[in-house]
């Protein structure tokens, strides 16, 4: 029963990893950019939620009303000011600029909030659970996170394939110059993609803050988990990313069951295993 329980927790944790991954996957799909500061943005969103909750007394989940739009704005600004000027030349410049952003964010958070770890208290919802069969229970909060990530991925798919913004994303992704000729302003489209990514990051940050302790140095690990979920799932496939997150979550849960030191390592090893056996991921869609 312990193992079954670990498996179930792993699946639910996978939902959170898919959320980490969705924003990363989105901007890679639209502009072939890998944002090294992605994890630090998630942690920054967690701190923002902390500040909002402390200032307004809102419930952590309700803080999304403020955190999501603020993060989206930050994302848009960051893209227009710092990243757009570097795009299109080579792979190095945008990568190193996001690396610089990551260093600044981490140390900025350290200066403002010290290295102490924080956590958002969500009240009774944290401990509430449903018992499926005797001895096997699902926490309400993990279930909510999982459902939220399924909803968000579904929403992103809708945006991508059913809206004019999504059409602009796909057009720019296929051929940025041709899209420009069709009156699509590439700079704005990229800004919108980053804003959307940052909005997902905001939700991921709030859930992260409720689920575990976080500190200014927690960002890189979130980036790595999100990245692993993307690669395991297969590039360009958001549902694949969800599957990748679940595979990663289950691997970590099983690793932790063997020995606590093995939790994260087991996830990395599964990632390398997938890379060795199926280099394009489990469910690739993009070439």
């Amino acid at each position: 029963m312990d193992w079954l329980n670990a498996l179930l927790q792993g699946v639910l944790l996978g939902g959170l990893y898919a959320l980490f991954a969705a924003g990363l996957s989105l901007i890679f799909g639209v502009m072939r950019l890998v944002n090294i500061a992605h994890g630090d943005l998630i942690v920054a969103a967690a701190y923002l939620a902390l500040v909002v909750v402390e200032a307004t007394g809102l419930h952590p989940l309700a803080s999304a009303v403020i955190v999501v739009p603020v993060m989206a704005l930050i994302g848009y600004g960051m893209q227009r000011l710092l990243l757009n000027p570097t795009l299109g030349k080579d792979l190095l410049s945008p990568l190193l600029v996001t690396f610089g952003i990551s260093v600044i964010l981490q140390n900025g958070l350290l200066v403002s909030f010290t290295a102490d770890s924080h956590r958002l208290a969500a009240g009774s919802i944290e401990t509430a659970s449903i018992e499926i069969v005797p001895g096997l229970a699902i926490g309400i909060l993990p279930l909510m996170m999982f459902s939220a990530s399924v909803l968000i991925i579904w929403g992103l798919e809708l945006v991508f394939y059913r809206t004019s913004l999504g059409r602009a994303f796909r057009a720019t992704s296929d051929d940025a110059e041709m899209a420009q000729l069709m009156m699509l302003d590439r700079r704005h489209i990229f800004g919108m993609a980053m804003a959307l990514s940052a909005a997902v990051v905001a939700v991921a940050g709030i859930f992260l803050a409720i689920r575990t302790n976080f500190d200014p140095a927690s960002g890189p690990a979130r980036l790595i988990f999100g990245f692993e979920a993307v690669i395991i799932g297969g590039l360009g496939n958001l549902w694949g990313t969800l599957a990748g997150g679940i595979v990663l979550g289950v691997a970590q849960a099983i690793g932790a069951q063997i020995s606590p030191g093995w939790q994260i390592l087991a996830g990395h090893l599964v990632f390398f295993l997938v890379l060795a056996v199926k280099p394009r991921g489990l469910f690739p869609r993009m070439d």
């Binding site: 890679f28 890998v34 570097t86 792979l91 690396f99 610089g100 140390n107 990395h268 390398f272």
Partner: protein, 336 residues
């Protein structure tokens, strides 16, 4: 009949540089006689960063392999040195060389795996690799597990009879590693492989159609860089005398600083990482008291350079003056 043209590599500036470098090298080699003990230590650190930055630059600037995970090999080299010295009683200076070989060997199975990741995803893949190394070494209890280990005093005193001689030997080792690394980078870039790298950088498709093995070239460079990086890592932790997984595989110490050095000096140039290292240490010695703020300044400077002068300081000098200090390129000259 005289040929219609000739290929020239060295320029007057480069010949002058070669002579001057020999002078500088001789002066630096004599540092134990003119510099204080603290300066010698600092110079040792300068040499290791110069080596790390040149190696990273060879990967990212010339081979197109942008890695944010070279700390994997720095830490690996350090741990190999500790293991060899503590368990097999091998002389630490010999262990540095063995660590280099071990680093290259372990990179052989790793490279094909990482090369499956394209472009920017390769970068994060290298980071995952470094994390795997960190977590694995944290599990090795005979090397102190998560809290790390110190090099036993007996091993340190075993390097040489008295303290002064020991410090000199360690210093010269650092200098030798830096010189060997720079020589390796220059020779590689002047060789056929170097020509292949230049072609790759300009167009992968065109160079492949001319029969250049892209994969093989990248593989060779990656493995060689891993070996030299491990060697440098082994030296770094011999100088520190203490190793722990978090210090050995730190992304800040062994990648963020190194990238900063290469970016401000000039990526894709030989001179860039050398100039960058000098600038970095000047900045560090003046601003290090600022602590976290100092790191934020480094990040901001790196972003600014990437946005305004992506070729770095040396790239700007070259653009203005056309100066070449280290002859890598070939020039065609016609007799007058």
């Amino acid at each position: 009949m005289t040929p219609a043209f000739s290929i020239e590599r060295s320029t007057r500036a480069s010949r002058l540089t070669a002579v001057l470098s020999l002078g500088v090298l001789a002066t630096l080699a004599a540092a134990p006689w003119w510099a204080g003990r603290a300066d010698i230590r600092l110079l040792g650190e300068v040499y290791s960063f110069m080596a790390l930055a040149s190696l990273w630059n060879l990967l990212a600037g010339y081979t197109g392999l942008v890695s944010v995970g070279q700390q994997a090999y720095v830490g690996f080299g350090g741990y190999v040195l500790f293991a060899l010295a503590m368990f097999l009683g091998i002389h630490p200076l010999a262990a540095i060389a063995i660590a280099g070989v071990a680093g290259a060997l372990i990179a052989i199975p790793i490279a094909p795996l990482l090369f499956r990741l394209q472009g920017a995803y390769f970068a994060i893949g290298t980071w995952v690799l470094a994390e795997v190394f960190r977590l694995v070494f944290a599990q090795v209890s005979s090397l102190g597990g998560g809290s790390g280990a110190s090099l036993p005093a007996g091993i340190v005193t075993g390097i040489a009879a008295d303290r002064a001689l020991r410090e000199m030997l360690v210093y010269w080792t650092a200098l030798a590693i830096a010189v060997a690394t720079l020589a390796f980078v220059v020779m590689l870039l002047r060789s056929r492989t170097g020509l292949a790298l230049t072609a790759l950088r300009d167009s992968e498709i065109a160079s492949e159609s001319l029969g250049i093995g892209i994969w093989r070239t990248k593989f060779l460079v990656y493995v060689a860089v891993a070996g030299f990086t491990s060697m440098t890592g082994a030296f770094i932790f011999l100088q520190k005398l203490r190793i722990s997984p978090d210090a050995a595989f730190s992304v800040n110490d062994w990648t963020a600083y190194v990238i900063f050095i290469a970016v401000i000096g000039g990526i894709g140039t030989i001179e860039g990482p050398i100039i960058g290292t000098i600038l970095f240490f000047l900045l560090r010695e003046t601003l290090a008291d600022l602590g976290t703020t100092y790191l934020m300044i480094l990040g901001a400077v790196a972003i600014l350079v990437m946005l305004r002068a992506p070729k770095g300081l040396w790239g700007m000098v070259v653009e203005r003056t056309g100066l070449t200090l280290v002859p890598i390129r070939r020039r065609v000259t016609f007799p007058k």
